[in-house]
Amino acid sequence: MTPPIRQPALERPGVPPSLPPSLPHPLPALPSQPVRTRTRRRRPTPARIGIYAFLATAALFFLLPLYVMIVTSFKPMIEIRQGGILALPQAFTLEPWRQAWSGVCTGAACEGIRGGFWNSVRITVPSTVLAILAGAVNGYALSFWRPRGAGLLFGILLAGAFVPVQVMIYPLVRVMALAGIFGSLPAIVLVHLIFGMPVMTLLFRNYYAGVPHELFQAARIDGGGFWRIFLQVMLPMSLPVIVVAAIMQVTGVWNDYILGLVFAGRDNLPMTVELNNVINTTTGTRLYNVNMAATILTALLPLALYFFSGRWFVRGIAAGAVKG
């Protein structure tokens, strides 16, 4: 297997080109920090201070709602009713967290949102795996093989990405009912696959568009067929974009509410349904502290995923996943 081609040197070193050269990708050995000449500075210059100031201010703006959520989740309801959402808790309490996980009422049952956790996992794992596989195969076929009509199909798929999900509920319910799988785990996985396919295909297609065509041709000359090349050549080098796709699909599926509500069937209702039951009662009392605690608990899984794969996420897109 030929190693990936490194970027070409500039024609006249030292002179920036007037037109940007097109860079062949991928660059898997890219360091996470750009390589520049190192100079040790003793005192931070105004420019450095400015950079940190800007970033810190932006960080404050981004963190403000999280601060309110955390602070609210540790206050008793009496304190919340008095207002002052930015104030620190005066009567600090862990009760909302305990209630959110295992005590708050979500119907006749009062067991918190933990019941939905495993349902969400059971929905998310197959939905992500299958969607990534489908996106990878589609992107691979679209980039290298380009069968007739595939471009048109891809165009339809992209247009479909703009359609609000609710519009497609009725026809999908009818089709699922005809197929006899409505209200079950396969139904919700299939639905997530359908709605995830446009973005997944887009990601992989753009990624493979950046892979040098010579690589593909060399593999064909070596005697590889469609599946062989995919499984042995393309898929292994797609790790960065797989991580990107996984993050986007996991976030979308984990936080989905309406599709899980309609298609999953009673025994597979995801955590978001329980979360909504906690937050959005129509004429009952609302426990804001429990709401906030429950929301943070629900968001922990995608957050953990970002945190542990953050480097991969950035690096993945570096390798051309978002080239248009």
Binding site: A58, L153, A159, P164, W227, V314, A318
Partner: protein
Amino acid sequence: MKTARIFPRIVPRLSPHLALLPMALTALVAYLGAALWTLRISLTGSRTFPSGQFIGLAQYQRLFDNERWMLSLHNLALYGVLFVAACLVIGFLLAVFIDQRVRGEGLFRTVFLYPYAMSFVATGLVWQWLLSPGDGIDGAVRALGFAGFRLDWIVRQDLVMYTVVVATVWQAAGLVMALMLAGLRGVDPDIWKAARLDGIPAWRVYTRIVLPMLWPTVATVLLLLSTAVVKLYDAVVAMTQGGPGTASEVPTKFIMDHLFLRSNVGLASAGAVVLLVPVLALLAPYAYARTRKEAA
């Protein structure tokens, strides 16, 4: 593979087509099928259940007579321009600044990305609290001593859409930043060296050289952001419920309300069809440009 041996010529040629079968099924049955079904229903008088009673274009007539729908289209256009512009600018700036070899880059990236992980049902409520006059930011700034400060956009008819822009940019800018950052990281490091040798200031390198190079990244980000604009629903429901009055109404909320709450599937379908038309109008030139680029 056995099958390859039995049909040595046919299977290799069929493999790409067979592999794309799920995509073909999804595109034709799910998306195209649903679109045609929606179009058909929009020509009927369906209420709670889809019915077959044709009434021609009456639903469209009612739609364009409806002030709330016309307002929702206007709001979406306004929102779309502001949201996409703000996300692009803020995302790009954040990416540029993080790219400057800052310490704690991982921490900053997590801080800017975490909103994307949170469900808007609760974060929308938090934004409503923060932007409420009296409590929230308004009261806090006044408590700090700026007595004349007022932040009451969320209760004003003409300014409420801007609050939705603020909250959704908060959620999406981190993702844009991550995508832009990756694009920046793909820029040839030699360009920086060359620019430094030539004495070109950093900001000009960014605007004149790097930004044009990032154009493909920007194009894809634009596509992703546009889908988010058209599907805007959770934020409006969680923050303003379309209010005050109907001032922050958006098409998807109009469609959703009529689909289930008001048991008027026919009108909702008409709205969905009307929403799809400008999307197709925008996508067609993009698709045309791409096919021409690929042919070249």
